[in-house]
Amino acid sequence: MSLRERIGSSVALLAGDKQADRAVPPTGFTARLTVFTSAAMAFLAVFVLALSLTAGRVADRWTEQLAQTSTLRISAPDGQIDAQVRAALRVLETTPGVAGARALSDEEQRALLAPWFGPDLPVESLPIPRLIEITETDGGYDTTGLRARLQAEVPGALLDDHARWRAPLVKAAERLRALGFAAVILIAGATAAMITLAAQAALAANAQVIRVMRLVGAKDSYIAGAFVRRFTLRAFFGSTVGVAVSGVAVWLLPELDVAGGILEGIGLSGAEWLWIAAIPILASVVAFAATRAAALRTLGRHS
């Protein structure tokens, strides 16, 4: 069967006719089970997806803000300090992995120290070190090599890649995102399996319906169609309800945007809502494929 034909026959199967649908008993526990399972799993999926996407955003922000800067500190007697700063900048310019480097201005240093000493610290008059901010490239530089070169050329320089201690945090957030996506895939798989099993249970329970339909000359596709439509609609309905309920729940979660940006509110934003809206469609596709396979297999067995 070509892809075109496949899609055509799938659409025909979904369009179906009312008469065929009446052949399958309208309700039953497998029906409710399917709707409920779809709803619960969609709810969980939205939940976990929201967690996961939030973790992803946190990881991105932290990565951006923190991962690629480090500081060079130059302490030297008053007269030599400017020369050493210039020497250090020269060294940094020629270091592979360093995207940029610049000395902090007096104001910037004062702002950095303000939490500790107040805003009035006489930075100019104090024998405090000068700071050079280094921006790394994606690959980062070779810390040991840079240290060795600096020791030779700028004796008063001390390299502090202090910002790197936050790297594990970024890793943690990224792992949380990965775990979240794994959970979503797990949920999707579990849902598919449950819908398949529910469909098979329904088919097994309706063995008599299948026998009668065959006896009166119904084609396989006619019988399968009645089941497939039923289950696809149920999965769509259930997962839509689940997504709607959990979407509202997530949307109602109070905003939680910490000044420091270390942790964001658990929630969704913009395009992420599209992911969520895709869940019912995915659930329907899964239900369609699962039920169709199960139905045709069952029909094949009933010789």
């Binding site: 008469q19 052949a23 008993p25 309208p26 009668v212 006896l215 009166v216 000359g217 119904a218 396989d220």
Partner: protein, 224 residues
Amino acid sequence: MIELERAAYSYGGGELFTDVTLTLAPGSFHFLTGPSGAGKTTLLKLCYGELIATAGHVRLFGENTRKMDRDRIAMNRRRIGVVHQDCQFLDHLPISENVALPLTVAGRSEEADAYLGELLAWVGLTRQAQQLPPELSGGERQRAALARAIILSPDVILADEPTGNIDWEMSQRLLSLLVELNKLGKTVLVATHDMALIRAAKAQISARVLRLKDRKIQAAEVDL
């Protein structure tokens, strides 16, 4: 219409019957008898393609069942009305819809209106038309199954023990329905144990009686 040529069938153990050669000519009327468990139902299942002969050939309307795909068999079933021995229905639909089911499946449900009421009246189920199948008595179910088998006005009617649970007067009524259809040119094959029914039929029409016994099929005019 239906030809069996040296057909045999086995469910895995020994062969139930072998070398069955049989032609149901258009317009013929056959009875099939034989002891319980001889293979009457199995033979009927060969005739409408639910089972495929393990040896020999079965041809429906000239086509070999072994070479038909499932959709083809489904299409052929619409030309064959079958009364199963254990009548099965869609238990969630009323009898009227169950009887009209072959029309529905064939996409001709609009024809139901004209014919259905008359048919239900003939088999005595007018009052029960809106009941569900599990709410029917055994005999009522058998009558509904016969009605369902003939609603499409099929070329062939295969009835497996259609009067097992039905009283004598009603059996006569159903028999005369089958005789009527046969006179219209339909081919009829009835599996039954009821010798009185066979005798009654032979008074009205020239029916052949086949007897399935000891893995063979024979004409059995003698024991009536």
